[in-house]
């Protein structure tokens, strides 16, 4: 015991010394002299502010993995304008305060020229004011809350961008599909209470669906940590909707589909791009996925070589299939690289302008153009499943 | 006029009577013993008197006031203090703090003056500390005032507990087996101390004790409890020769000692 205690003590001391040493190295000079920017910097520093621990670490790690992969690919191809990209990866504990803290660190300590992340809207909202204050562009691959890019007065936030689908369009497509193709008269919505993504989609779906003459017969909620949805599904089933709209991520979606079918709900379920994952089939099983439709940006049958390559590389590198967050993170990284390239110099203001001017960028999640609200404009497709649970293309919708 | 008058006190725990039809009267200045076999309900009586338990039936008049239903701290504030069979000191605090806590009910400064250090905070704290040290001096503990209570030797812990109880300025003091774990010499000293504090502080004392030398030597009257009921009551001499008490509690030898 004595000995192992000593060993442990030495280990801790070693840890602390390492940490302290690491910290000492990064201390800024007391008075940072405004040195003239060198002609060609050795590397371009990009900050990654992601949820690597805490309750949504799954999402953050997925996204950051894909970003690291994208950076490695870009650097292997000679970097951006001949300069390699370097990712400074920092954890924000899935906490808004920490997201602010970390954003400040990345900008003021590490001197990054652009920020990627975080993934959840709330955490992005904690980081956007920092990016705005220090005039560094921030791109969230997945934060869907409209307020991220537009402030309360309706003005576009100059330094904040997103590369994911903005909710209104997908919700709109989903509702139209339910009414027109599925001929639904009544619908139930099952919303993830603590997800802005789900809430935003649900709101638009409800609005569109009722405007077109449909009726919402049940609107229920769950929280991300839930695994058992039977009680609420029983309630929903009792309301007897023609269609069930579940705009969440695949882990919950899969469980909801599975449990709804177990409880004897056989009618269609409609979702959004969060459903897109190979794991969905493993979680829900093929039988539960019959009569399930979801909106997405690209079709699986669209054998886009870029997408195929991405999926293969990701699998090889991380041993698992990339999910929607990984795909979105991957695209965010490339969109940023593209903007830096067009900006000509790795300077925040130029990168920002180039980002705002992004047009027709083709990524793995479809073609992206940034509009004046700093949101991407993408097309949409509707996907369903065959009897083995394989994704099949249903129809294409354009904005 | 009685300081404490208990009538028909009964306590039932889950169907079993721990104390039944208990009557006792204490007059100012008396030193009275309560003895009886283990499990007879002596400590339960103390707990009922001090409000730790609420009686199932009966009345307790203390200083002409019915105290049944009052909380322990309310009863203490009315002038009753006690010690415990298994010493209950504030064991991680200093000897001095143990006594200062007992002064709590007599402190007048409020929360605001405490946190803002205003008004009479310093004056009262100083006064309290001075009095506490004086008190400890009486019990020959003043030189150990900064010692942590749990580090005191057993006998001193017992003394400290009594000192602490007295610091609450009681009129009635209840002592629960104060001599437990003391050797005859220590017990003898304790007996003198108890008599002395009774006179000095003009107290009334009720004590539970198994050590017959203490009980017989100090108490003027003795109550004997068996199975929750009083089986005898009288002067030490009367008790010693009471056949029922001998049979239930004392045994032949002690009675003849």
């Amino acid at each position: 015991m004595k000995l192992s205690k000593k060993v442990a003590l030495i280990l801790v001391l070693a840890f602390l010394v390492t940490i302290a040493g690491g910290c000492g190295g990064s201390k800024p000079a007391p008075a940072p002299a405004p040195a003239p920017a060198p002609e060609k910097p050795k590397e371009i520093l990009i900050g990654a502010n992601f949820e690597l621990s805490g309750n949504v670490a799954t999402f953050g790690i997925s996204a950051v993995n894909a970003i690291e992969m994208a950076f490695a690919e870009i650097n292997a191809g000679g970097g951006v304008n001949g300069i390699p990209l370097k990712l400074v990866k920092v954890d924000n504990k899935s906490d808004t305060g920490e997201a602010t803290n970390v954003a400040t660190k990345l900008i003021t300590q590490d001197k990054v020229v652009a920020l990627l992340g975080p993934v959840t809207s709330t955490n992005v909202l904690g980081a956007v004011p920092v990016a705005t204050q220090y005039k560094v562009p921030l791109i969230t691959p997945t934060g869907t809350n409209p307020k991220i890019t537009v402030d309360d007065s309706g003005k576009t936030r100059e330094w904040a961008f997103r590369t994911c689908f903005i909710d209104p369009f997908q919700g709109f497509v989903g509702a139209n599909f339910a009414i027109n193709t599925l001929k639904a008269k009544t619908a139930a919505i099952f919303i993830e209470k603590n997800s802005d993504y789900a809430k935003g989609l649900a709101e638009v779906f409800e609005k569109t669906f009722t405007e077109k003459g449909g009726k919402i017969v049940a609107k229920e909620y769950f929280v991300t940590e839930d695994k058992d949805f039977r009680a609420t599904l029983t309630k929903i089933k009792a309301a007897n909707p023609d269609v069930l709209y579940v705009p969440s991520y695949y882990e919950q979606d899969g469980l909801i589909a599975k449990q709804a079918r177990e409880l004897g709900y056989t009618k269609p379920i409609v979702g959004a791009d969060g459903w897109d994952s190979e794991k969905l089939l493993q979680i829900a099983g093929a039988k539960a996925l019959q009569e399930v439709y979801f909106t997405n940006h690209y079709s699986p049958q669209d054998t886009d070589p870029k997408l195929v390559k991405f999926v293969e590389n990701y699998k090889a590198k991380y041993g698992s299939v990339p999910d929607a967050l990984a795909a979105l993170g991957y695209d965010a990284a490339y969109i940023l690289a593209d903007a830096i390239k067009r900006a000509g110099a790795p300077e925040p203001a130029k990168i920002k302008d180039a980002l705002a001017a992004t047009k027709g960028f083709v990524g793995v999640t479809g073609s992206v153009s940034i509009d004046d609200k700093h949101n991407p404009v993408k097309g949409a497709v509707i996907i369903t499943f065959d009897k083995d649970g394989k994704q099949i293309f249903k129809e294409k919708v354009n904005p | 006029m009685a300081l404490l008058a208990v009538n028909n006190l009964t306590k039932v725990f889950g169907g079993l009577s721990a104390v039944s039809d208990f009557n006792i009267e204490l007059h100012p200045g008396e030193l009275v013993g309560l003895i009886g076999p283990n499990g007879a309900g002596k400590t339960t009586v103390f707990n009922l008197l001090t409000g730790v338990y609420e009686p199932t039936e009966g009345t307790i008049q203390f200083n002409h006031e019915n105290i049944v239903g009052l909380k322990p701290y309310e009863i203490t504030q009315r002038g009753m203090a006690r010690t415990f069979q298994n010493i209950r000191l504030f064991s991680n605090l200093s000897v001095l703090d143990n006594v200062r806590i007992a002064y709590h009910t007599h402190v007048k400064y409020g929360l605001t003056s405490a946190v803002m250090r205003l008004g009479n905070y310093y004056k009262e704290e100083e006064e309290m500390t001075r009095k506490a040290i004086e008190f400890l001096h009486i019990f020959n503990l003043d030189r150990k005032k900064d010692e942590i209570a749990k580090n005191l030797p057993y006998g001193e812990q017992r003394r400290l507990e009594i000192a602490r109880a007295l610091a609450a300025k009681p009129r009635l003091l209840l002592l629960d087996e104060p001599a437990a774990g003391m050797n005859p010499q220590e017990t003898h000293e304790l007996m003198n101390l108890i008599k002395w504090i009774r006179d000095e502080f003009k107290l009334t004392i009720l004590l539970i004790e198994h050590d017959m030398s203490l009980v017989m030597g100090a108490c003027e009257r003795i109550y004997v409890l068996e199975y929750g009921m009083i089986i005898a009551h009288g002067t030490p001499e009367e008790i010693k020769s009471n056949p029922r008490v001998i049979e239930a509690y004392l045994g032949e030898e002690v009675a003849h000692a």
Partner: protein, 234 residues
Amino acid sequence: MLKVNNINVYYGAIHAIKGVSLEVKEGAIVTLIGANGAGKSTILKTISGLLRPKTGEIVYEGKKLNTMEAQDIVRSGVCQVPEGRRVFANMSVLENLELGAFLRKDKVQIKEDLEKVFEKFPRLKERMTQLAGTLSGGEQQMLAIGRAMMSRPRLMLLDEPSMGLAPLLVKEIFSIIKEINLSGTTILLVEQNAHMALSIANYAYVLETGKIVLEGPAKELAESEQVKKAYLGG
């Protein structure tokens, strides 16, 4: 039978036992008396393996107890009745007694011994299924002794068996201790009540602040002025 050679025991920085040596002869009742805090219980705890001496050794029938685990000490026939009884209050009387025979595997003899304990303490038999916590102090002391008997000890260590008991019960407990001794168990008794202890013991040690200050046959000590003054209240 048991020899304690010059042991030193510490509680953290406190030197509790300072070079104590004592001996218990087979078949005897040896008592250890002294004031509270003198270290009597500490010695018993050290013998039964709850504490370890820093130096010195404890030899029991040729075996060195001070390097043995507590359960092996029990297995070799030394059993302690702890101070304050320490019965398992949340278990029945019967279960307490069964735990006393925890290390034994001889089911038949265990049953016999159980009967013996019940014979000695009929009150325990009456309350066999009752929880030990509901017993009175005296009954708990009986249970603690009975529980120790269940391990078939050849040396029984008793720590303050009279503590907190009514005079009548004290007498009863001591006569039981004498009986246990007569039926072949050697006894080392730690007691506050020096008067009673000296009346049944063969040999006695007086402990003061961790040191043995006096020893001798119990009868002689009972007559000694020094002991009378300090421990017998004379």
